[in-house]
């Protein structure tokens, strides 16, 4: 099993990773492009999430203290793979950036990974207004800034990817073929304009991150997709009738890089493996 290629899922808190895993696990048992090779040893990590979705409710946030990894054995094109989802709560990703170090568990996962699926939540993502986007008037030079400092979303993700590369022993000085990377722009259904191509969206809203990815990964080793694992907004306490009547597995979709909508969530994995 150790020789199987492995896929690592990474993302910040509330970026939809657990919802995706819960929905993906349902689809793997159906007739998607990717199949479950055999039942995973321990699926408790997503059980609560699957129960919530079956009840037509949004899932609860993963607590930071949770320290488990769900490993799904997958089969695609007659090859076996392992999908590793460290259910660490995205806060631990934030902590990696703030503390500037990676613990042993993450280190092992990063080192053995051949494919990275990175979740970037696009819900409420707006362009920061600054002196390069908006003309200023001299008399407006009276603002103040908050003492709290945090990296912009773009800088955060570039820094995170730089760190992952560093831990994997890869520098920033060559174009990479491995690990393959897929940026999943998650919560796609929250966008006002859902017909935009993911590649156009990332250039419009996250150009620094896009430039970094284009420069570090070869064209064959990278892809940008839109992802809505739920397909629609769900309440935390009011069950969604459609979910109750039709089943959670009927919802969710992917927007392929060319803008086409695909209801097979396993395509996310197939696409990553095919890059």
């Amino acid at each position: 099993m150790d020789n199987k290629k492995s896929i690592l899922i990474v993302g910040r808190p509330n970026s939809g990773k657990t919802t995706f895993m819960a929905q993906l696990a349902e689809r793997l048992e159906m007739d998607g492009e990717v199949e479950l090779e055999f039942a995973p040893d321990d699926r408790t990590v997503i059980e609560d999430a699957q129960d919530r979705l079956a009840d037509g409710l949004a899932i609860e946030h993963t607590s930071t203290a949770t320290n488990e990894t769900l490993s799904l054995p997958l089969k695609w094109n007659n090859q076996s793979y392992i999908l590793d989802y460290p259910d660490y709560g995205g806060e631990q990703i934030n902590s990696i950036i703030e503390q500037r170090n990676v613990d042993e568990h993450w280190k092992v996962l990063i080192e053995k990974s051949d494919y990275w699926l990175v979740f970037v939540n696009v819900d409420k993502l707006t362009k920061q207004k600054d002196i390069t986007t908006t003309m200023i008037n001299p008399i407006e030079k009276t603002g103040t800034v908050s003492k709290d400092f945090e990296l912009s979303k773009q800088a955060f993700f570039v820094e995170l990817l730089q760190m992952l590369l560093y831990v994997k022993g890869l520098g920033l000085h060559r174009t990479l073929e491995v690990p393959k990377i897929c940026i999943a722009l998650s919560c796609w259904d929250t966008l006002e304009q859902t017909t935009i191509k993911p590649t156009d969206y990332i250039q419009e809203y996250l150009p620094l991150l896009n430039s970094f990815i284009q420069n570090i990964w070869s064209a064959n080793a990278r892809s940008i997709i839109g992802l809505s694992s739920q397909g629609k907004a769900l309440s935390k306490d009011k069950p969604d009738d459609d979910y109750l009547n039709e089943g959670a597995f009927e919802f969710g979709y992917v927007i392929e890089p060319n803008g086409e909508k695909n209801k097979d969530l396993t395509w996310v994995i197939a696409n990553l493996l095919a890059t």
Partner: protein
């Protein structure tokens, strides 16, 4: 032995894999020159990087803060960085200009031939760019004056850029104007060592002329600028100098005689220079900022053989607050 460190010998993973022997056959590994260099590099990095809270944790070799001249070594594995010396008096707009450049890249603008491919100093870039972002009241604040003791992490700002298949590290100096004032006044002053380091090592320069200061202080400011030009001229050779008339919305209010005299000094002191006018309040600010960088990084200058002074005994960028206070 320091674990979780990539040995400078690219074929040896002794620092990464427990139980692995040194690729060069050294036993103990501490006798290996490659491994000794690894440890030297580690120790050259800022103190906060050296703290490893747990033996099982894998610390990163950069903090996100500005680099010091010693920690430039982390960039040298992929070739010599292109160092841009940013020179000017206090409040002349150096910090604002650098962050303007970063913001342009963050918002998707590009240099003609170079595109963004990473940075080891995001915290340093963004800790200041937030002054140039509109706040909730729809106002901006401009970065405060970079003083000797405000504790801000001034030093070297890094951008990794790519041109077709070629990667290059761009490093910008971001320091207090006091360094340059002291250097212009007395080149042998201890407090001028940082400015001298920049003068010795930079591939190109951005030289700031503060229009506002020329209006308020007349030739008193002009003389300081002129003295700084004279100092920069020493051993300048053919290195490019982008001369920025900063806050140029006020350029028209400078006494013509002062402009004339400074223009004359520019011609007399610099062989390879180009003048630009830039103001945060002008429509073409973005274009000018990119034009400046495009001119500075034109290919012929990329062949310069800048070698970071690894043997430099002091790190002026990390120590300068202390230097000033103790002098």
């Amino acid at each position: 032995m320091e674990q979780n460190r990539k040995c400078t010998n690219e074929h040896c993973d002794v620092g990464l894999v427990k139980g692995l022997d040194c690729n060069e056959g050294n036993d103990p590994t501490s006798e290996c020159p490659f491994w000794q260099k690894t440890i030297e590099q580690l120790e050259a990095i800022e103190p906060s990087v050296k703290e490893n809270p747990s033996a099982n944790n894998y610390s990163l070799s950069w903090t996100g803060n500005a680099l010091g001249s010693q920690s430039l070594k982390i960039l040298t594995e992929r070739g010599t960085p292109f160092l841009v010396g940013v020179i000017g008096e206090n409040d002349s707009g150096k910090t604002t200009f650098l962050r303007l450049l970063y913001l342009l890249l963050r918002n998707g603008k590009q240099l003609t031939e170079w595109t963004f491919a990473g940075s080891y100093t995001f915290t340093a870039w963004e800790n200041v760019t937030r002054f140039l972002e509109f706040n909730d009241s729809n106002k901006i604040a401009f970065p405060p004056h970079t003083s000797m003791s405000d504790g801000r992490n001034d030093g070297l700002l890094h951008l990794s850029m790519k041109n077709k298949s070629r990667f290059k590290d761009f490093v910008f100096t971001d320091t207090t104007g006091e360094w340059f004032r002291e250097w212009a006044r007395n080149a042998n002053s201890k407090n001028a060592d940082g400015a001298k380091w920049i003068h010795n090592n930079a591939d190109v320069f951005i030289f700031f002329i503060d229009c506002e200061a020329l209006i308020e202080q007349k030739w008193k400011a002009g003389r300081s600028i002129s003295n700084l030009m004279l100092r920069l001229k020493d051993n300048l050779d053919n290195r490019k100098v982008a001369v920025l008339w900063a806050k140029s919305d006020k350029y028209k209010d400078i006494q013509p005689a002062i402009i004339k005299k400074l223009e004359k000094s520019l011609k007399a002191n610099f062989d390879n220079y180009k003048e630009f006018k830039i103001s945060a309040y002008d429509n073409d600010t973005h274009k000018v900022a990119l034009d400046i960088m495009n001119w500075l990084v034109q290919p012929e200058k990329m062949a310069l053989t800048f070698i970071p002074r690894a043997e430099y005994e002091e790190d002026y960028f990390l120590n300068y607050h202390k230097q000033f206070q103790n002098d």
